[in-house]
Amino acid sequence: MTSTPTRARPRTVGRARAVLRRLGSLVLTLWVASFVVFASLSLVPGDPTAWLLRGHNPSPQARAAIREQYHLDEPFLVRYGHWLGGVLHGDFGRSLRDRAPVSHLLATQLPTTLTLVALSGLLITIVGMTVGAYAALRHGRVSERVVLLLVTIGFATPSFVAAIVLKWIFALKLGIFPTFGLGDGGWGDRLQHLALPTVALSVTYLALVTRITRSAMLEQLSRDHVEVAIARGLPRRQVIWRHVFRNALGPILTVSGPNIAALLVSSMIVEYAFGLPGIGQLLVSAADTNDFPVVQAIVLVLVAAFVIANTLVDLVYPLLDPTITSPQAAR
């Protein structure tokens, strides 16, 4: 938006340093998170082998495989080192259910989740910002009230409630959209299968982004610099665009960013409700069937994705607000 071709040198250096610091803190957070996820296994009482294998076939081979996978005969830190080394090389161990490599499961299921999250993110950003801006510009009118009412309801509607309501209306009453699975056809079929899940996943966050956009715009509308622009007879469209919406982007991003990142996690509810083969559904079924290596791997992947997404928001923020030079200060 504001490209920065002519920036003084010290500022660039300061910004580069701030970016490095933010990336450093990202690495630290990821490292601690990996440790927490790994060490959580030590919280369970009793013999970890027996615990890991509860509900599975406790054959001697399986026991040996587990002890080897987790290096259970070695000291704790060495075990962690082995595990982390594996993770960094893309080796998340094997599922207890069918001995399939977890990385393989992730690779097949991740695209569905990412597609769902991307579609939802687009829907939320475009519709949320448009409707929020509309409501702000209709401040005090009936149309704003209507938007606010929808926002209040949408904000309290979790994705699983949205999912069953959508299923009920569209599948049962109208019979328009499919309600289960991804289909087996091409992209068109797949998108049709993703339509309801995308909407279900978006409802809460759509309400949130709408609300934030509205209040950020209203906040800017009350600012002195907007009055100055009006006092100079700037065309209204330009006042809104250059001074209200542009300035509201920063606050909108800070609040919406982390929430859109949270879609990665909420996605599991929708995948479960609509039987979509994403990693969220994989996580739920793994948790349901005591398949701990899979749970561990997916939790780690999702935490990493969530943290990276939040870091990106922090790094983008200074580009929207030149008064902020350090990404850390944006929070």
Partner: protein, 284 residues
């Protein structure tokens, strides 16, 4: 008698002036749900855990106001019976996270320095774990049910309160009125606990009311995913999950009733929380 009652009424009217009707309705709804939850075992028309295979998938009727599910369980009874577990979990999450968050935020903001750095760093790391994810990790470690999920969520919600409290404490601490208290020779503990805390408590309370709604949604999601409250114990999230097949079979009430209950309760909490926040801004 009336002479005594009149000022009381007048006071009440003064106190409620400016409060939106929606917030009053919201507060009333919350009271009703809490009463239902507390009195559930006396007022449920049927045993919410016992099916009746002679009356499955019924539409609402005089006997079953909200119909029955695929096992013939009375939906209204399940709804009332499930109110208890559905509200108790979030209450635990909010109480624990608010109390701990208050302590952490207050200490970090008031003491500053390395104490603040360490605590803030810790909160940043907790932020990396979305509540739902931490709850699932806990459930897979300690077994399905509300307990593990509630404890995990209390931890996941902690940094939100802590960060809010730290922020306002930092702000208050630099205010001249606090500097004046210090200058008068009052002790730090007295100023922090007796003077600053009451000033920021309403703001945190408002946040807690809103957090209650979030926690309710997150815990209901865990039950919906089949990892929380296990049937036949009644719970709204579990009911929606269990009611899906009834829904597709043409009897939507088993799933829709708890869905509507969840939405209404969360709206009510959000409204009350926002009303509180508005009133606080009006005061200072």
């Amino acid at each position: 008698m009336s002479a005594l009652a009149e000022p009381a009424l007048k006071r009440l009217r003064q106190r409620t002036r400016g409060i939106s009707a929606l917030s009053i309705v919201s507060a009333a709804i919350l009271v009703i749900f809490v009463v239902l939850a507390l009195a559930s075992s006396w007022i449920v028309p049927y045993d919410p855990t016992a099916g009746d295979f002679t009356a499955i998938l019924q539409d609402p009727s005089a006997e079953h106001w909200l119909g029955t599910d695929q096992q013939g369980k009375d939906v209204l009874s399940m709804l009332i019976g499930g109110a208890w577990t559905s509200l108790l979990g979030p209450l635990g999450v909010v109480v624990v996270s608010t109390v701990l968050g208050f302590v952490v935020g207050m200490v970090a903001g008031w003491r500053g320095g390395w104490v603040d750095s360490v605590l803030s760093r810790g909160m940043d790391i907790l932020f990396a774990f979305p509540a739902l994810l931490l709850a699932i990790l806990a459930v897979s470690l300690f077994g399905k049910g509300l307990t593990a999920a509630t404890v995990a969520m209390s931890i996941a919600y902690l940094p939100y309160t802590a960060r809010l409290v730290r922020g306002v404490v930092l702000q208050e601490r630099a205010r001249p009125y606090v500097l004046a208290y210090k200058g008068l020779g009052l002790s730090d503990t007295f100023i922090a606990v007796r003077r600053v805390l009451p000033n920021i408590a309403p703001l945190v309370l408002a946040q807690s009311a809103i957090n209650f709604g979030y926690a309710l949604l997150d815990l209901a999601a865990i039950s919906f995913l089949g990892l929380g409250v296990q049937p036949p114990e009644p719970d709204w999230g579990a009911m929606i999950n269990g009611g899906q097949s009834a829904l597709l079979a043409g009897a939507p009430y088993a799933a829709l009733a708890p869905a509507v209950a969840i939405v209404i309760v969360v709206i009510a909490f959000n409204e009350v929380g926002e009303e509180l926040a508005d009133r606080i801004q009006g005061i200072s």
